[in-house]
């Protein structure tokens, strides 16, 4: 094979690889971009078709002689596209033609044209078998009786530099001048008006406590499983392993009744306490501790260190990556959980809502303002994304290894 064609083939191969990867990356990332872009829009912009990515606002301009700013539109004037301000809309215009020659049309405001013979004694003429009213239309100083062929509504557009220059165009068919503008106040509105700030703090509180509690119990448990020999250990461990595959929905009914029994329904405690004891986390910590060289520990024991000291001073400082991984896992799980909060926290008890519940309420409450809904979704989605970016290295690697070993 000659080297040139080999190079070409490799180039094409790499190009194909990046093409496929980029395509899937776009598929993966597009909903996030859509969410972010829409969350900065004004409501009318979100309902536009065809949809556009970047948030845009209609441009308004002050014109001398008008008290309020006027919206700008692109208007076709003498074959050129110009930016004119809309001074007056809903002007009704009629197209008139003499009954003898329906093609010789002129346009006049409906308000300026009077019926022939006055309002009291209108006259009419029969055109193509239909009776039509006659109107007095002035054309170049002459009054000619004409019939109304059609009527439309137009807007009066004026040149902002020269307000005397006016053209009349259909407003709906004119393209408004828009500029890209972001509305971060959507976020403020969601946070202040829709209970999101309380939900955000509750979620943060619940997540922090679950992460800390789960780390503590699984570090101790994992250490006991990995390093301490005691009768019953292996039985309990097998028992733990067996429950890892059991889906959470199996527990939801009895756990709910347990919460009713101890009076934790509608309480944040119900979102925290049951979740700080986990078989899976304990299993992961055990798998981690078991890889540790035993000699260091034995030396420390001979020096009179207690098991607790060994754990605190030797094992935990050396396990930061494993702990970070588990903290990230737990963080995501606690932050994103929805089913259990939905069951245990009442819809009416907004004080104890977490983000996912608040989003569920927002969905119904703000169904006509997708910008606010998606701002809420962004508030729920962005913190995990940040945690993911920070802990990405540990996290992805560990998902990979747990999948292969586990």
């Amino acid at each position: 094979m000659n080297p040139q064609s080999y190079k070409l083939r490799r180039f094409l191969g790499n190009f194909a690889v990046y093409f496929v990867l980029t395509f899937f990356a776009l598929v993966m990332i597009f909903p996030f971009l859509y969410m972010l872009a829409t969350s900065f829009k004004i409501p009318s912009d979100t309902f536009r078709y065809p949809p556009r990515m970047l948030p845009r606002d209609p441009v308004e301009i002050m014109v001398t002689g008008y008290d309020e700013p006027l919206p700008l539109y692109y208007v076709d004037v003498d074959g050129q596209q110009k930016e004119y301000a809309l001074a007056q809309s809903n002007i009704r215009v009629g197209t008139y033609a003499p009954p003898e020659d329906l093609n010789a049309t002129v346009e006049r405001y409906l308000s300026e044209v009077k019926p022939t013979g006055g309002a009291m004694n209108p006259q009419s003429v029969t055109v193509n078998g239909e009776e039509q009213k006659l109107f007095d239309v002035e054309v170049e100083g002459q009054v000619i009786p004409m019939i109304l062929v059609s009527q439309t509504t137009v807007g009066e557009f004026i040149d902002p530099q020269n307000p005397e220059t006016k053209v009349y165009r259909n407003v709906r068919l004119s393209e408004p001048v828009e500029n890209i503008s972001w509305h971060p106040e959507n976020y403020r509105e969601v946070i202040e008006l829709n209970n999101m700030s309380r939900a955000l703090t509750n979620t943060a509180l619940v997540t922090i406590l679950v992460v800390l509690g789960q780390l503590a119990t699984s570090v101790f448990g994992g250490y006991a499983f990995a390093r301490l020999k005691f009768p019953g250990r292996d039985t309990v461990f097998v028992f733990y392993l067996g429950t890892i595959m059991i889906p959470f929905v199996m527990l939801i009914v009895p756990l709910y009744q347990l919460m009713v029994l101890i009076g934790w329904t509608d309480r944040l405690a119900a979102l925290i306490i049951p979740w700080i004891f986990t078989a899976y986390g304990t299993f992961l910590m055990r798998q981690h501790f078991i890889t540790f060289p035993k000699e260091i520990e034995e030396a420390a024991l001979l020096d009179g260190a207690s098991r607790f000291q060994i754990l605190k001073d030797i094992l935990i400082p050396a396990s930061v990556p494993a702990l970070a991984t588990q903290a990230t896992f737990t963080f995501l799980y606690a932050w994103n959980s929805f089913f259990w909060p939905l069951v245990i926290i009442n819809v009416g008890n907004e004080k104890n809502h977490v983000l996912t519940l608040a989003l569920n309420v927002l969905r119904g409450r703000a169904s006509d303002t997708p910008n606010l809904i998606l701002a809420g979704a962004a508030i729920a989605i962005i913190p995990p994304l940040i945690v993911f970016i920070l802990g990405q290295r540990f996290f992805v690697e560990s998902v990979a290894s747990s999948g292969v070993k586990g």
Binding site: V17, Y18, L21, F24, M28, F32, Y34, M35, T46, L200, L205, T217, F220, G221, A224, L228, F230, P231, R233, F239, T243, I246, P247, V249, M250, L251, I252, V253, P254, L255, L258, L261, R267, I273, F277, G304, R307, W335, N336, F338, L342, V343, K351, N352, L359, R363, P370, I373, G376, A377, A378, A380, I381, P384, L385, F388, V399, A400, G403, V404
Partner: protein, 557 residues
């Protein structure tokens, strides 16, 4: 690790006190068995009274037995004493926390916590300041030393400010004020007494006097370290799991005492009828008793058909939808993931970036994601229909054909609603599976490919001959976890669909039906039975996959 060694005589004295304490403990526990029955402590139902009495009786007997063992200087006595005191200690500590309303007080913390977060941030920043030293240990010592000191002060300062901002002082005062009632004080006393007894029993002299060996310390430490986890696990996992099984045989409604109904719940779920139809559109009421059965579906063939009716048609619709969902969502997630991971496995620059991007959907909240897709699916202004329209126009002009834009209604059409959910689920789990496959790929030894290249195998031959068989364990793991997830689909449906069961029940899933039965109609016994049926279905699917994987690996091996 006590500094002062005790004399033998003193040790004997302490041991005697422990024996007396064990007897006192037994007497207290026996007295405790009476309290529920004479009305000192009230319980909601009889079985709770019986349970408490039984536990206390067992504790009393065990304590007496422990005392006997202690008098014999047997180490078993020490173990029993430690176990009983520890459990009593934990129980008292929980009662203290509960009486002081610590658990319920977390709600109040939700109100003030927001104010404290910035200061907590300061403390965290202080920690990272200190961590700088860990990462750059070779810099000269004096400035880093001061950096560590500064970090310590920042952490402390930030934490104190945090506590102040969240009103910790008032919280503590409230805790103490709530504790100042007989129940609370008794529990505090219990914590002190049991704690002191534990501490005393753990002293090395006493251990020696009771013939403790080194492995005894390991046993004690092992159970001690495992205990927080194990107790929580038993209370919040194993216990409820058994209760769930029990509830599935009752008519429990969460608030009234449940009645045993035997297999009624399961019988209702599994009560189905098949009936032959003489014409494809024959009415259901002509072939089954519609007072009991509802039509779930019918299979039409020729001029006849088969009618499938069930006593609980929603369960069977849910089962059908859930299985359909899994049948599509799992391959749609796994096959692209397998292909992508092979592409990602090329040693080109930027692969880690793509890997991270693919991973993003799987970490975002399903609720948020579903809301985003809800607008993407919007039939008039959504991007998905827009892309379809643009694509069709492009295709039509390119090939000069006239394909009609389908204008899919997505979530409001019963034929596409479930498919809309499938797409979201596949989109969300694909990246996670890609990473799993990638890890599996990286474990395949490169020599295999080299040998195949020498033998003249092309890329496809390598993929079918080496990659797929070597990936079989990963594939099994990926397919089974994705299936287990898919069988529990709930959140996407709940958020995306309005109402959640979708048009004409087209998106009712098993977990959604469980939620509706258990938490909207409060038929919790029935919901438990649904949960167990779901579990059996999931278990069966996993077992089938496991068998297939084992057979194929035997075949290849």
């Amino acid at each position: 690790m006590s500094k002062v060694a005790l004399s033998d005589a003193r040790t004997n004295q302490i041991l005697r006190l422990h024996i007396i304490w064990r007897v006192v403990f037994a007497l207290l526990a026996t007295a405790g068995t009476l309290t529920p029955w004479i009305g000192w402590v009230t319980f909601a139902s009889n079985w709770q009274k019986i349970l408490v009495t039984a536990i206390l009786l067992v504790a009393a007997l065990a304590s007496l037995f422990g005392a006997r063992q202690l008098t014999r200087r047997s180490h078993a006595g020490r173990m029993i004493a430690l176990t009983l005191d520890y459990l009593a200690f934990v129980a008292c500590a929980v009662i203290v926390l509960n009486t002081g309303q610590v658990f319920i007080g977390i709600d109040a913390l939700g109100e003030t916590f927001g104010r404290g977060v910035p200061y907590l941030g300061i403390a965290v920043a202080g920690y990272f300041l200190g961590a700088i030293e860990e990462y750059y240990p070779k810099r000269n010592l004096s400035p880093t030393n001061s950096l560590k000191a500064v970090s310590r002060w920042v952490i402390l300062g930030g934490f104190v400010l945090f506590l102040w901002q969240i009103d910790a002082v008032n919280g503590l005062l409230y805790f103490l004020s709530k504790l100042a009632q007989p129940k609370g004080l008794v529990a505090v006393a219990g914590v002190l007494v049991f704690g002191f007894s534990l501490w005393s029993m753990m002293r090395p002299e006493l251990a020696q006097a009771l013939n403790a060996k080194t492995n005894h310390e390991q046993i004690i430490n092992g159970w001690l370290f495992l205990s927080p986890n194990l107790l929580g696990f038993l209370i919040f996992f194993a216990g409820p799991l058994i209760l769930s099984f029990y509830f599935s045989f009752t008519d429990s409604d969460a608030f009234n005492p449940p009645n045993w109904v035997g297999f009624d719940n399961y019988a209702r779920i599994l009560n189905v009828r098949f009936a032959w139809l003489s014409s494809p559109d024959q009415l259901a009421r002509e072939v089954v008793d519609i007072k009991i059965y509802d039509e779930v579906g019918r299979f039409k063939f020729g001029n006849g058909g088969l009618l499938f009716a069930a006593a609980d048609k929603f369960f069977w619709l849910a089962l059908r939808n859930t299985l359909t969902f899994a049948l599509f969502a799992v391959p749609l997630s796994v096959i692209p993931a397998l292909l992508l991971s092979n592409v990602l496995n090329s040693k080109l620059p930027g692969m880690k970036f793509f890997r991270a991007v693919y991973f993003m959907p799987s970490i975002a909240a399903v609720v948020g994601i579903s809301l985003v897709w809800q607008w993407l699916y919007n039939a008039t202004i959504g991007y998905i229909n827009y892309f379809i329209t643009v694509g069709i126009e492009f295709w039509n002009t390119l090939f000069n054909v006239a394909i009609v834009d389908p204008k899919i209604q997505w979530v409001s059409d019963e034929n596409t609603a479930l498919f809309a959910v499938i797409i979201i689920a596949a989109w969300q789990s694909m990246g996670f599976n890609t990473v799993l496959f990638l890890a599996g790929l990286q474990n395949i030894p490169g020599e295999l490919y080299e040998a195949a290249t020498v033998d003249g195998a092309g890329p496809w031959a390598k993929f079918w001959g080496i990659t797929l068989p070597m990936l079989a364990p990963t594939t099994f793991y990926v397919v089974s976890t994705t299936t287990i997830q898919a069988m529990q689909v709930f959140e996407q449906v709940f958020i995306l669909m309005n109402p959640p069961e979708g048009p004409n029940n087209s998106t009712i899933t098993l977990v959604l039906y469980l939620y509706r039965s258990g938490f909207q109609n409060f038929k919790q016994g029935y919901a438990s039975a649904i949960a167990w049926v779901l579990f059996i279905v999931i278990f069966g699917l996993t077992l089938v996959q496991f068998q297939r994987q084992r057979r194929s690996s035997i075949y290849e091996g």
